[in-house]
């Protein structure tokens, strides 16, 4: 078998790419995801309507491909397609921002705790335990009411404040496993200072797992943001997010079902794609799937 390994240059990442391409569901999810993200980005440029522009001629119009508004309008005559795309944009932006912040804090916190060990590890992880046991919804509600309601920054921070805890635990567990590996001991024996060991040896080796976790945390964040907006704590009108669109649509469900169906289907599609992709990524990084 070793002959094969010598002939073909295989790396963790190139192997993962190859396996990912072989996974049809994940590849299709990635393509669809890219299309949705692109449409969301380009939305303002493509459509004559803005997310808050009102069309008095077409109030509460059902979806129709021949009409001026393909996916219909809401009660104020705002184009649902444009508003949904704006919602996707805002939700994705928030989710990616919150995920990035929570990953950054979580990776550093977990890696430092795991590498330091002993009392420092104990203190850092007990802090995480305490935060975990606070009802996170209250924390978020308090945060969002203390600061400007609907501010994107506050919302992102609130989401990240909850998200980093799990990341820290995962990274700490990984670091503890790494610490017992001989290459970390080799680095210590070489006289590599602790902060270099952290940056050069520990963090790069946990990134594979973290990358996978990231694709699973983004949909969580989207869902959580939608939930907050649905409760009225998140993004405020006339800004559109998937959550407050669904909330608004739910009020009209009896007379105009498309108002809730359009953003809801989009949300489900987005989450499905992200989860399928994350699943594929996890399989791709698992060498046993070879």
């Amino acid at each position: 078998m070793s002959e094969v390994a010598l002939v073909a240059r295989r790396g963790l990442w190139s192997d993962a790419r190859r396996r990912l391409r072989g996974n049809r569901a994940a590849a299709a999810a990635l393509v669809l995801l890219a299309a949705i993200a692109l449409a969301a980005l380009m939305a303002p440029a493509l459509s004559p309507w803005g997310y808050d522009s009102l069309d008095w001629q077409h109030l509460a119009q059902p979806p129709s491909l021949t009409a001026a508004h393909w996916l219909g309008t809401d009660r104020l005559g705002r184009d649902l397609l444009v508003r949904t795309l704006h919602g996707v944009r805002l939700s994705l932006l928030l989710a990616v921002l919150a995920s990035a912040v929570s990953l950054l804090i979580g990776v550093l916190w977990g890696a430092v705790a795991g590498l330091a060990g002993g009392r420092i590890d104990g203190a850092m992880m007990r802090f995480v335990d305490v935060l975990y046991s606070l009802p996170y919804l209250f924390v978020v509600i308090i945060l969002t009411t203390l600061f400007t309601r609907g501010s994107l920054m506050v919302l992102a921070l609130a989401l990240a404040a909850v998200g980093w805890l799990t990341t820290a635990r995962i990274v700490r567990a990984q670091t503890l496993a790494l610490k017992r590996r001989e290459f970390i001991e080799a680095a210590r024996a070489l006289g590599v200072p602790p902060h270099s060991i952290l940056v050069r040896h520990v963090v790069p080796n946990v990134l594979g797992q973290v990358a996978v976790y990231a694709t699973l945390i983004v949909p969580q964040m989207i869902l959580f943001e939608s939930f907050l907006s649905f409760l009225g704590l998140g993004v405020q009108e006339p800004q559109a997010s998937l959550g407050n669109l669904i909330f608004a649509g739910a009020q009209e469900m009896e007379s105009a079902p498309w108002m809730v169906l359009v953003p809801a289907i989009t949300l489900v599609l987005l989450l499905l794609c992200l989860n399928l992709f994350g699943d594929g990524l996890r399989d791709a990084f698992d060498p046993r799937e070879r």
Partner: protein
């Protein structure tokens, strides 16, 4: 090439005249992205009842894949072709359900790593009983009784108590015995053992080999022993088949193959199996040459001890484990000192404590006049450029996310910060060339290299700063035999050319003999004997040293069976509750009353020698 049983008179006399397993034209092919890989090609051989067939070859020779193919256990991309008959019945291509009945019931299997082959969360008894009840429709009580009989048959001491223990509570040798008991549970006609002793200590290896020899005699089953070590076969096998690159290149009675090998490859394997490795011992020159006795002390260990507190649960009482006790040792500049002993003897702890990679509980480590424990962290890091270490696991000691060039450059990055990228690159290339690696490997990742290449990278990393002490912690035990020889030769050359001191830790006495001037024998973390290599091998003083030497298999079928027959069954005591007095007394054939009462003093019969035994004068 065929290896027909009938052409060999020795095996024609074996009790079962019909072969229990006969393979003809058996091939194993793997479908890989690079096209089909032919792992085994057209192998024909047979095993009869009461006979042991030894299958040897280096790693990658296809010896494991051959039998995995026969039993339908190949990886998903592998397939076997040809014919494999078990008691006359074709088993190749049987449906999965029928194969399940063959495996376990008619064929037992034992693998290299007894820990991973046992389920960690079930007791030994539960695992044995499960197998017994599946095969025999026994009641629970009857199965339990039979499980105990089976354990006793494979000489597991205190069998009734062992049944209630979990796999991690047993030593490696005990676990392998349990695996053998499980394999025997279905009363198989054929037992296939794949490198059953490779991960075991030399004394335990001898015990397990003796057990196989006994089973073959008393159980009248066909035995296939797969190994890379010809010497391990000498006392057990009746016939030997040599595989290379998936082909059968030589096959015949054990005496014929070991004494008059026809194929040059077999001769090479045989040379590697000899104690001393056949290659002229690098160390003997060093030992014979009169070295100036005034060589300065480089590393001095004084009363070094390492203890661990083992706590059971949060509030449980702490038990104290003495991993290393009262080690006094002086390593002179440029000297090569070997440290031998079984697993659990404290060898690796000694290596790490000597480099202050773990904190000693007592005693002092002085390097070139400076006490390591007293140094602040920053100064200690600076000193590390002189003190280097290479590790047991060649792949595990390299960061998987770094290229070879980055790995070797790391010490330079830390200790030679003024170097620019260009001269660092040049230093890396020079270091790689010194360990015999081509510069083309510089941008490879560790997992793209073979085990031997990985260990060379580890050596290059350790040598790039020109250290004065190199600690080698079992540097070759994860490599196959020819690669071991290459790495040992490389270490000998490096020592010759750079005059560095070596602390060479190994359970392989043959390697220590080739490389080292003096040898320290450890048992349960205590020093047993320290002697010049030649003295230790010619006239060992300590009973434990004698036992270690006697356990080394010799590739001679005339004397090896008798050596195996003398092997005593026994396990070292737990370091948590060492025996009083001399820790070796419970395994010692010479132990007297005094041995239980007092810890033997460390006596020094000559300069740079020592022994801890009450009775060494009487028994020598």
């Amino acid at each position: 090439m065929a290896c027909a049983m009938l052409s060999i008179p020795a095996s024609a006399e074996s009790p079962g005249a019909t072969p229990v397993l006969s393979l003809s034209g058996l091939s194993v092919t793997f479908d890989t992205p690079q096209g089909p890989l032919r792992a085994v090609q057209e192998v024909t051989l047979s095993v009869s009842r009461g006979e042991c067939l030894g299958v040897v070859g280096e790693s990658g020779a296809g010896k494991s894949q051959l039998f995995l193919g026969v039993l339908g256990l190949l990886a998903a991309n592998g397939r076997a072709a040809g014919s494999a008959r078990l008691d006359g019945q074709e088993i190749l291509g049987l449906p999965a359900a029928a194969l399940d009945r063959v495996r376990g019931a008619r064929v037992g299997m034992v693998f290299q790593d007894p820990m991973t082959s046992l389920t960690p969360h079930l007791t030994v008894g539960e695992q044995l009983i499960e197998v017994l009840r599946r095969h025999g429709r026994l009641t629970r009580a009857a199965a339990r009784e039979r499980a105990q009989t089976l354990l006793e048959r494979v000489h597991v001491s205190d069998a009734a108590r062992r049944l209630a223990q979990y796999p991690h509570e047993l030593s490696g040798g005990m676990r392998q015995r349990v695996m053998i008991a499980i394999a025997l549970a279905g009363e198989p006609q054929l037992l296939i053992a794949d490198e059953p002793t490779t991960s075991l200590d030399v004394t335990i290896q001898a015990q397990i080999l003796a057990l196989f020899a006994e089973l073959k005699r008393t159980r009248a089953l066909g035995l296939v022993l797969i190994t890379h070590d010809l010497a391990a076969l000498a006392g057990v096998a009746d016939r030997v088949a040599v595989l290379r690159h998936g082909r059968l290149i030589e096959c015949g009675p054990v005496a014929a193959v070991l004494k008059a090998p026809r194929d040059p490859y077999t001769r090479a394997l045989l040379r590697d199996a000899e104690p001393g490795g056949g290659v002229p011992p690098a160390a003997s020159a060093a030992v014979d040459a009169p070295r100036p006795p005034e060589r300065t002390a480089a590393l001095t260990l004084t009363d070094l001890g390492v203890q661990y507190d083992i706590r059971r649960g949060w509030l449980g009482a702490a038990a104290r484990l003495d991993a290393l006790t009262a080690v006094n040792l002086t390593l002179r500049a440029g000297e090569a000192l070997g440290v031998v002993g079984e697993s659990g003897s404290g060898k690796s702890t000694l290596a790490r404590a000597a480099l202050r990679l773990l904190e000693a509980s007592s005693g002092r480590v002085v390097w070139m006049g400076r006490e390591l424990a007293a140094l602040p962290a920053r100064e200690l890091r600076g000193l590390r450029r002189d003190l280097q270490i290479i590790f047991q696991d060649p792949l595990g000691s390299l960061d998987p996310r770094m290229t070879v060039a980055e790995i070797v450059a790391e010490p330079l990055r830390v200790h030679e910060r003024s170097l620019d990228a260009g001269s660092r690159g040049a230093a890396v290339t020079a270091a790689l060339a010194r360990v015999g690696l081509s510069p083309g490997l510089a941008d490879r990742y560790p997992h793209e290299l073979s085990g031997g290449q990985c260990q060379r990278v580890g050596i290059a990393r350790a040598m790039v700063l020109g250290p004065r002490l190199l600690v080698c912690d079992e540097p070759v035990s994860a490599l196959d035999v020819p690669t071991q020889q290459q790495v040992i030769t490389l270490l000998a050359e490096l020592r010759e050319s750079s005059g560095l001191a070596l602390l060479f830790i190994s359970h392989n006495l043959a390697l220590v003999r080739r490389l080292c001037e003096r040898v320290l024998v450890l048992y349960l973390g205590r020093m047993m004997e320290l002697a010049p290599t030649a003295t230790l091998f010619a006239a060992p003083r300590h009973p434990y040293s004698r036992e270690l030497l006697a356990a080394i298999p010799v590739a001679d079928p005339d004397i090896q069976p008798a050596r195996l027959a003398r092997v005593r069954v026994g396990e070292p005591p737990s370091p948590l509750s060492p025996p009083s007095g001399c820790v070796y007394r419970t395994s010692c054939a010479q132990a007297g009353a005094v041995c239980a009462e007092r810890v033997p003093e460390w006596e020094e019969p000559g300069a740079g020698e020592g022994i801890a035994c009450h009775r060494w004068r009487e028994i020598s």
